[in-house]
Structures are given as structure tokens and as C-alpha cells.
Symmetry: C2
Subunit: 345 residues, 2 copies
């Protein structure tokens, strides 16, 4: 489909106006606000054509037009111009990533907050995906009689710990010995490669050399390791922003939306799938989920050393400032990637 010349200008005007005001846009409004040099009647004719193409629609007979999902799609793919962040904004984003470099999770949480703040939509971050990460360090710490702590650090800088009970007789030296052994076998192992066969061979090895009572312990901790890569963590912020949008005045709408935002599985599904790298845009009904029929989800990936390890995105009304949101997301993702590289690379 190609929409050129005046039609294109009118389509753009409708979308921009609707994004700005949230009200259906009439022919007179366009003639007045965007001086295309033609009368409302002419614009009406063009609008009828655009509607036939499925790019805009009428909520009811005597209302103006609003963009359809397809209209937004065409606008984003073919018409929209890139929004350029002001240098002040860029500076602000950069500076937010510079101050206090904590652990990766803190950085992701901050990034989520930043996106929510800059876009005024709900922001979500997923990750880091741990499948490709390898184990950097495994350590069993003695805590107190009968208590030990397993700590695992991955190459992505994620720290996982698990406190658990051990036979009361276990002493520090045993744990240290075990740690050394585990490190030898697991260091550098990619999490995806931790399979039952590997675990089993380690298990046998431990059985042969170590205090028998510790075996159950080992089983337990190996299971924990397997869990590490299972599910990407979720960071969520700016939920309240959605309440400011006029389309979410309806309490039922909000309920459905919050319901989704609370369920990690649903969120993960909505935000995780996508192209291997870069920007993904799902408009309105392009998302399967009914509760977000009138929402769009934009995500971009972030990476460490060129490898995609997660994504950040926003959930907002279909009537969203795509241009600006995309710029914010891409810029934040870039800075985020750099920050993480400094942190973990």
C-alpha cells in the first residue's frame, strides 16, 4: 500500500492530532490547524478514501476519524519522522547511568524508572537473560552450625544466593573443599549447558570424595543452579502513569491492565518474544491479549559485548507518542548497554 501526496499529509495530520488531543479529528479541524490549502470538503473526500483503505475509522457516524491499528502501523513504518532528543535530555539520561554503579539488577531497575519518567507510560525491563552467561564463581559459605549459604556469580554480574540447612556436623573446611571442587567443575560453564548428565557426573565425583551426608545438600544446590537461567527477571515502573491517560478513565479497563501487569508470566510473554535484536512494536490488536486491545507495546533489546541479554520497553495507549517513545527507548537502551558493559564486561 502506498499513500502519497495530500492523502499522506492528511493521514499524518489525523494521527498527530489524535495523538495530541485524544479526540476524533474532523475535517474542519484539519483544515484549520494544518494548512493544506484545501477546504474541509476536499479533506472529507480524502478521508473517505483513507477509511476505505482501513487506515482510519469512525467511532460513530457523526464523529471525526481516529487512526486504526493499521493506520498507526503505516504511520510508524512509512511516514513518521525520527524524534530527536534534546541534548539536555540526552545529557540527563547519560548522567543517570553514570551515578552510582551498583549491581546489574539495580541498574535495570533504575533504567526502568528512567523510561517511565521520560515517556509517561508504564515501563518494563526483562532480563538479564542468563542462558548464555557462564558461571564465574561458586562458593559455599559457612554461616552457623547447620546453616550454609550458596553464592553464585555469573558473567553477567548477577548474584544468586541461597541459604540452606546442612547436617549440623558440617564444618567450614568441608564447605571450602566443596567450593573448590565445584568451582573447578563449574567455572566457565554456560548456564544452558548445565544438564542432568553434567550434574550427575559431578554428583558421582562428590560422592566418591566427600563426607556422605553432604550429598543431599549437593543435589539441592545443583537444582538451584539449574533454576538460575530459567526465567528472566521483571522490573516494572510507572504503572501509575497510565492513569493519567484519558483512555483509562474506565475502571474496568484499568483493572484488566493492572491484572496483566501483576502477572509476571503474562508480562514476560508480552515483552519477551521478538526479533533477535533492536526495536519491536506491537500495536493494539497485534497483541493477542484482549485486555490490552487499546495499548501498544514497544521494546528494544540491550546487550553486553554485542550479545543481546534482555529488553526494555513501554506499555502505553495505542494513541501513543511513538516517535518520542522510540527515541527514548533506543537512547536508554544504548546507554544501558554501555553501562552494563562497563559493569560486567
Amino acid at each position: 500500500m502506498r499513500v502519497e501526496g495530500r492523502k499522506r499529509k492528511i493521514l499524518e495530520a489525523i494521527i498527530l492530532d489524535y495523538i495530541a488531543t485524544g479526540e476524533p479529528v474532523g475535517s474542519r479541524t484539519i483544515a484549520r490547524r494544518y494548512n493544506l490549502g484545501v477546504s474541509p470538503a476536499t479533506i472529507r473526500n480524502e478521508m473517505a478514501d483513507l477509511e476505505e483503505l482501513g487506515l482510519i475509522e469512525q467511532p460513530h457516524t457523526s464523529a471525526g476519524r481516529i487512526p486504526s491499528d493499521l493506520g498507526y502501523r503505516y504511520y510508524i513504518d512509512c511516514i513518521m519522522e525520527r524524534y530527536e532528543l534534546s541534548s539536555a535530555e540526552k545529557e540527563y539520561i547519560r548522567q543517570r547511568f553514570e551515578q552510582k554503579m551498583g549491581e546489574i539488577e539495580q541498574v535495570l531497575a533504575d533504567a526502568t524508572g528512567l523510561i517511565a519518567e521520560l515517556t509517561s507510560y508504564a515501563a518494563v525491563a526483562l532480563g538479564p537473560y542468563q542462558g548464555r552467561a557462564h558461571i564465574q564463581q561458586v562458593q559455599l559459605l559457612y554461616v552457623s552450625p547447620g546453616k550454609a549459604l550458596l553464592v553464585v556469580v555469573t558473567s553477567n554480574g548477577l548474584v544468586e544466593h541461597h541459604l540452606f540447612s546442612v547436617p549440623r556436623g558440617v564444618i567450614r573446611a568441608e564447605l571450602n573443599y566443596l567450593s573448590r571442587l565445584l568451582n573447578e567443575r563449574l567455572q566457565g560453564i554456560v548456564l544452558e549447558d548445565i544438564k542432568p548428565s553434567l550434574l550427575n557426573s559431578i554428583y558421582q565425583e562428590l560422592l566418591a570424595t566427600e563426607h556422605k551426608q553432604l550429598c543431599s545438600l549437593v543435589i539441592e544446590l545443583l537444582e538451584e543452579l539449574g533454576n538460575l537461567k530459567r526465567e528472566a527477571r521483571i522490573f516494572l515502573d510507572g504503572t501509575l502513569n497510565l492513569f493519567e491517560q484519558p483512555e483509562f478513565r474506565n475502571i474496568e479497563r484499568v483493572k484488566g491492565l493492572l491484572c496483566i501487569l501483576e502477572k509476571s508470566d503474562a508480562l514476560r510473554e508480552l515483552f519477551a518474544e521478538g526479533p533477535p535484536a533492536g526495536l519491536r512494536i506491537k500495536i493494539g490488536r497485534e497483541n493477542k491479549n484482549e485486555e490490552i486491545n487499546n495499548c501498544s507495546i514497544l521494546t528494544v533489546t540491550y546487550e553486553i559485548n554485542g550479545e543481546v541479554i534482555g529488553n526494555v520497553g513501554v506499555l502505553g495507549p495505542t494513541r501513543m507518542n511513538y516517535s518520542r517513545t522510540i527515541s527514548v527507548l533506543e537512547y536508554v537502551a544504548r546507554e544501558l548497554s554501555q553501562a552494563l558493559e562497563k559493569l560486567c564486561g
Copy 2:
């Protein structure tokens, strides 16, 4: 103030009916549903008296009566009978605490979810308060060249970790040495007692014996330790439950409420203050915060080995089933305390 005999019965009927239905209660309704053996007219007279006492009020002239904050207060303090959980419910709660004993934070998160589920209000848990906890174990782990991990385990079973940069030359042995030294000095120290003077003396000691470059590192980690006791963690669940309440149909109300629930500081203030141990009830305007004018907050404390270390509670509409909610809270808090004792004691 004393309210006895028939008046008392009528007040109770009004409150029970209003809690159940959410509608203002009229004299005829009371006469029909609660057979007090008197006519509506008589009840009307009594109601006029109760209104004069400030225990009930009229939304408008031609409506029934609803309890005032004072009315709820009187009901809770003087009239209400204890709700007894069914043995099935008790069993369910117990069993929820038995399965998978993880770390303290997991247990608290589970408890919060359990309360939300059983009460249908929003549930909050605060804690564990770390002021009185002592340090059980401090460990510096070598992660990779230039990276180390500080792990601290407190007597409450809280694990705190912090990944940070160290001079590239630092090797495993140095960190181990440092760990031993820190453990010697810090083990058993109550977190509240970690004061600048103590830190300084340790700092001097380290300076004398250790690789000079590690000194900045030590300063950093000591700061981290100080932060441990700073703020109680917050667990929140069941926010969506509030949407089911008819009083929160109004979007503005919900917005204000969610706004509070998102701000940890506000939440902490609302839930943290209270008597040293046991149950606390704040009804409607007894809470200073305007956004929760029509909400009540109930909290109970939980403890480890007789020492209060946090509390759990609910936020719900003033028109709340106090009797049942109190029972749930107290029972869950008891089981929670026991579970934590098993976990940390």
C-alpha cells in the same frame, strides 16, 4: 461512653449490615433482618440517639445510616466478638508455612500473599527490622580480576550482597585474609552498634596490615554494612483486591490509593509506627493521610525468639470485616513467627 441494651444491638446491626452490603442501613431493614422485637419507628428513635452520640451518620437526609469512624472504633473496642477461623483455614495457613522453607524474604513475601488471599484486601509486610540483628558472617569473594563480592549474613537470616570493583591486582588470598579479619572484628556485632568509631578502628587496623590499595574498598564496604539496618523492606500484595470493593469504583480514589501503595516511604510510615507488640488498628481519618480517609489499616507484629522484628498488615476500606481480618492477621503472624524461628533461631 457506654452504649447498652437495645441501642447497642442496633448499633451492632447497623455496622454488621453495612459491612456486609455497603449500603446505608435503614430502620426497616434492621427491623426485618435482625429481629429485635420492636418496630422501625422505635429503631428510628434509637438511631437518632446514636447519631447524636456520633456513632453513626447519614450520607444525606433520605438515606439510611452508616457507621462513623467513631462508630467502628466503639464497635471494635467494645462490641465485636472474636471471629474464629475454621479449622480448615487454620490448617491451610499452617500448611502454607510448612512447605518450602526458603530465605526469610521469601517467607515474608509468601506471608503477604497469604494474607491478601485470605482477607481480600491489600496486604503489606515490613521487615525484618535489622537493628537488633547481629552479624553472623562476613565474606569477601573473589569474582574476577578487578571484581569482588561482599556477602553479609545476619542473625535474622537476611543475606545482603554487593558486587564492587577492586584494584586489578587484588588476589583471592588477600580477600580471604581480609574476610578473616573482618569476621573477627564484626562477627556477633549488633547492626545498631556499627558506628563511625568502630568503623574507624577497623579501618586503622586494616591500613596497618593490609595492601594499601584495598583501603578505599574497605571504606566502601563498611558503608554498605551501615546501610543494612537502615530501612525495613516492604512486601506488598493483593493491591488488585481493592478494586473489587465498591467504594473504589471512583478512579480518583484508586489513583490516590495506588499512589500511596507505590511510595515505600509513605507505606513505611503508615504501617511501621505502632505499639511495641501486637495488634494496631487505625480507622479512617485516624490515619493522617488524606488519600486513605476511607480506609483502615490493621497491623500485627511478628517476632523471632520473643523479639519484635517487623509487622504484617492489611489496608482495606473502612467498611472492613474487622473481626475476620484480625483473626487472620493474628493467626498468620503467629505461624510466621514460628516459621521464622525455625528458620533463623
